[in-house]
Symmetry: C2
Subunit: 391 residues, 2 copies
């Protein structure tokens, strides 16, 4: 298994925020610098000479094996929010006899907001939002699209993609999965699970850099019939013909819109090489093992922390969340001691376990630091109460 | 006036492609490197410590004076295509009794495609596309939004923003201006001209780097009533409250959607410092003077080149376009001689004059090189006939 030496993580830090923003790897620094050099020396010629124009597809091909997809089913473009908008609109158009998007209350907020954007633009579309445990019962033949995030950003609860997709398909429902909190930390099998569309984030476990563009997956089954609903010149069949009417590029490329943000893509290019030759089963195995180690040790030594993530590894993602009345102050005290974690409302400490650069010794040190923080009541200091803007 | 020494333009090159992709300036290299250092050393802490979270607004404030806007009227986000989608949807919602977007045939293709996206999503909306000289006659009280690009990407023909905006407003029509081929090369006065909304590109005359995010301007007059139609978490009033329902941030910030691409924004941050203390009237004056020099000398020495840009500087942008049956080969021959220009269908040579780094000696050398290319028939060589993917 690859390890921490690939990354520029500050000495003595244990970085448990890979579920929020992955660290920079040396390869990403190199490719970003390469991008800067091309811009300096080739200027506009970089689009051809350095093949910037092909980067969205090239990076899609690198991501494809990480989600169990074919190379031609994935492309990198825009943000996850915009990509979700594109997938939902295209899925609704494919299932146009139906007018309902079904999702769950605790989906990631921007996913809700994007669905709400669609109902604002097209009032014939309706969003049904139900509790997690009502999802299966609410599937019926009025639903056009089931929109879910596989791993819950707060609790780390993990959906069974295969099972839910199968149940949805049995009723003629298309599925759009948000893999933002999954990809890069576990096995995924979009093709085998017959997923219709998926989106995901590249700056969390994929370590692409702050705000790195997201990705879109669309199964080959839909490539012939699907229509891009947000039509931009990079998704045109012949962008440099500058035709006034939109004619979509073939396949996944039709999901491109405006000019891709090359500097951000160049950093992602290097970051993805950290996954070369990584076996996803081993990656997931390591994530599960380390998570279990953390959960077991906290249960033994720190009963005041309440586990809100599932106990069972089979339904848990790669972060672990604990509730505590002083959760925010505890995260700040941990950070002051070099254990980088984050906070989410309401009252949750999140610890992300990215199997590429976290190991067993790290987990032991995290638990030891938590014990010290509680023994010394370090977190009660006033300095740790102050809320930062980004949590 | 600032000059070429601010930029990393290869020696002996004359770079006439600033209308397509601006060169890298030394300041942009520094800020991009600063972004990489923050990511390396601060990791997720960079959102607060390096104030990444405020970059979209900070850069909007830097762009505001370049388009004659107030600092709180501009923000950097997404691509120009996506920003245009957001502006059109919001403008349509503000003028919801009307259902027509009016534009001109020769608008930039992605602007057409985005308008076509809206009609595909909401079939009650209609796009009327007319010839440039029919625009004023077609303005009437059925039109909700007039959508135009100020400077034509091919011919460089320039609209009079003040006059068209005034005529539109007199009939209750809102205007959305695309300033992609204007900003950074001329005076603009969005506030004084009462422009409702505008979008623009930051990688052309603003030199922000390949695919750098675009900007949105929305007049303060609309801030209270306008509603963001593409709702993303960064445009939420309290993004880190993670509320399931969207409540827009106040003012221009509501136009943010997903997580901004920080590495691309960091390059733009440095690039914009090249405009510090630049007087826009002088900038425009220099652009006009150099363009006139080029046009006059070509008219004298190269009658085989047919000027398709307007003769009158008052209705011309900062690039000059010539038609010739061998236009593509001529651009390639010029590039081989260090004069970097580009080609656009049908049969046009474009020469962009970015007043920040082009001077009179450059223009003389461009004309001299053109003369040599015609005398030697260099462009007739087979190697210059081969079409590249990106032109």
């Amino acid at each position: 298994m690859k390890n921490r030496t690939l990354f520029a993580i500050p000495d003595k830090q244990i970085y448990l925020c890979g579920h929020s923003l992955g660290p920079v790897c040396h390869a990403a620094k190199e490719t970003l610098n390469e991008g800067l050099q091309s811009w300096s020396h080739e200027l506009v010629g970089g689009w051809n000479k350095s093949a910037w124009i092909h980067l969205p597809q090239k990076l899609g091909k690198s991501i494809a094996p990480l989600i169990g997809a074919q190379p031609e089913e994935v492309i990198v473009a825009d943000s996850t929010s915009i990509n979700l908008l594109k997938c939902l609109l295209t899925a609704l158009a494919l299932n146009s006899q139906r007018k309902v998007i079904l999702t769950e209350h605790d989906n990631f907020p921007t996913d809700h907001y994007i669905a709400q954007s669609i109902t604002a633009i097209d009032p014939t579309i309706q969003v049904k939002t139900v509790a997690n445990n009502e999802l299966v019962a609410m599937l019926d033949e009025t639903i056009a699209v089931l929109m879910l995030t596989q791993v819950n950003y707060r609790t780390s609860q993990k959906h069974d993609i295969a099972s839910l997709t199968q149940k949805a398909h049995a009723l003629g429902i298309l599925v759009v999965w948000d893999l933002s909190h999954s990809v890069g930390a576990m096995s995924l099998a979009c093709a085998d699970d017959h997923v219709d569309f998926a989106v995901g984030c590249t700056y969390k476990y994929l370590n692409g850099g702050p705000g790195a563009p997201g990705f879109i997956y669309a199964t080959k089954r839909h490539h012939e019939r699907m229509v891009p609903m947000i039509k931009g010149w990079m998704g045109h069949k012949l962008p440099f013909a500058f035709a006034p009417d939109f004619e979509p590029a073939e396949g996944i490329k039709a999901f491109l819109t405006g000019t891709p943000a090359i500097m951000s893509l160049k950093a992602l290019e290097g970051a993805l090489t950290c996954f070369d030759a990584v076996d996803l089963s081993s990656l997931q195995e390591k994530s599960v093992k380390l998570s279990q180690q953390l959960i077991d040790k906290i249960q033994q030594a720190l009963p005041m922390l309440h586990l809100v993530s599932p106990q069972a590894a089979s339904v848990r993602g790669s972060h672990v969340a604990y509730a505590h009345p002083q959760a925010y102050a505890i995260t700040q005290a941990l950070i002051s001691r070099g254990v980088i974690v984050d906070y989410r409302e309401p009252g949750l400490i999140r610890m992300g376990i990215s199997p590429l650069y976290i190991d067993e010794l790290d987990i032991d040190r995290v638990v030891q630091t938590l014990i010290e923080i509680f023994e010394s009541r370090l977190y009660q200091r006033e300095v740790f109460q102050k809320r930062l803007l980004v949590t």
